[in-house]
């Protein structure tokens, strides 16, 4: 299913936002939604490493690290690894509708910097069971994501 593309006027607005508050909001959202599950992973291996996520159609750059207490927004400095894709593709990856290698072959996902770090995080996240993740989300968020995913799967041609 084509998840809705990011509306252009909204994208223009977001582009004007400075990086720090959006990174902060992103980290806070991740801590709320995903940390209850992700806290069980072995984050020791990425301690002190900095990640940048560039949502290219929104002109948005998120800059953060992962600490034993959760996601933390970073202000400045260089990222160790940068992931670049559109909002739609990031959403499809998060919902496990798309395989990252597939997106890479199709030039829809770019990983720059420390490739091994990028691979490790990708593989760590892949090893998390989606039901556990959505089951641990607060309120109706998890159910809504599961429903969205089922809808998208139902629209696949095969």
């Amino acid at each position: 299913m084509q998840l809705p593309a990011f509306p252009a006027p909204l994208a223009r607005l977001v582009t004007r936002l400075p990086t720090w508050p959006t990174s902060w909001a992103f980290a806070a959202a991740c801590n709320l939604a995903a940390w209850p599950t992700l806290k069980d992973l072995d984050w020791e291996v990425v301690r002190g490493r900095r990640f940048r996520v560039v949502v290219k159609d929104m002109g948005l750059g998120l800059f953060f690290s992962v600490t034993p207490k959760g996601f933390r927004a970073e202000r400045n400095g260089l990222a160790d690894v940068t992931f670049t894709a559109t909002a739609q593709d990031f959403a499809r990856l998060a919902l496990r509708l798309e395989d990252p290698d597939t997106l890479f072959f199709n030039r829809r996902l770019l990983i720059e910097g420390d490739t091994d770090l990028g691979l490790m995080v990708k593989n760590m996240l892949d090893a998390v069971e989606l039901e556990t993740l959505t089951g641990n989300m607060p309120g109706p968020m998890g159910q809504a994501l599961n429903r969205l995913r089922r809808l998208a799967l139902a629209q696949q041609p095969v």
């Binding site: 597939t102 030039r107 770019l110 490739t115």
Partner: protein, 335 residues
Amino acid sequence: MKPLLELICPAGSLPALKAAVDHGADGVYLGLKDNTNARNFSGLNFDARTLAEGIRYAHAKGAKVLMALNTYPQPATLARWHAAVDTAATSGVDAIILADPGLMAYARKTHPNLRLHLSVQGSATSYEAVNFYRERFGIQRAVLPRVLSLAQVENVVQHTDVEIELFGFGGLCVMVEGRCLLSSYACGDSPNTFGACSPGHAVRWEQTPKGMETRLNGVLIDRYADNEKAGYPTLCKGRFEVQGETYYALEEPTSLNSMELLPEMARLGIAAIKIEGRQRSPAYAAQVTKVWRAAIDAVKRSAETFKPNPAWMAELNKVSEGSMHTLGAYYRPWK
């Protein structure tokens, strides 16, 4: 009775294993989190807990679990490979997939009831080689390298009792399987020893004004224009300058897709079809397993009328390296 066209799917993680089993795999293959298998990538593969859970899940749904221990032990760390064989035996996997004869001897002696498969990395291309492994180590299945034509496969099948497994789909590797040193040449690590071709620590991608550049330990192996499909960062799939021309000098990024040969494979009595891709995500395991389950079921219903459904092929092309596929060596008139 020998099995026919079992569908064997890759599992790099527990969710991928479950996705493959849920979508109809007859068996999954997996590896431990170290260089005892040829997909030794950071964060991938199974530890004691996920292995136990994976085996429980697969067996509860009637699927087999095969463990790949298909690298070549290094003298200083041989104990790690032996321990991995012991882990496989005690955890209750249905078979282990080995390439190294020394390890086969160890498995045979220590765990006589453990079923042994010969890995593609063992590079056995003739029935003499396959039968040798049968006589010496009692292997019960051999995965044939992707360098044989179907006529050559038929010749092997006709002269052995060993079950034959063929690759059906996935990234291609011209490594004269199990003997490629290209990756070592650039970064000192190769599949047989380190357990990965082009390990992540040696790979760098960078978007430059000229295009996206792929480097392996600093060696530029390809540069993609914005509209070009990309392949894995392996030396064999790089574009190189040869006598003033830059092109794919070894092979193009492409995936093997042998689906249209399924009726022929059924006729030959091929025991199992293997899907490549333990390095890939649960989404891939689900997509590819679903399509191949449908195809194998269709062939078993009626091999004569079987035609790959265009929607299946489109789905497979979508997840393919270079977004295209080939029949590889299976279909060629010359030997």
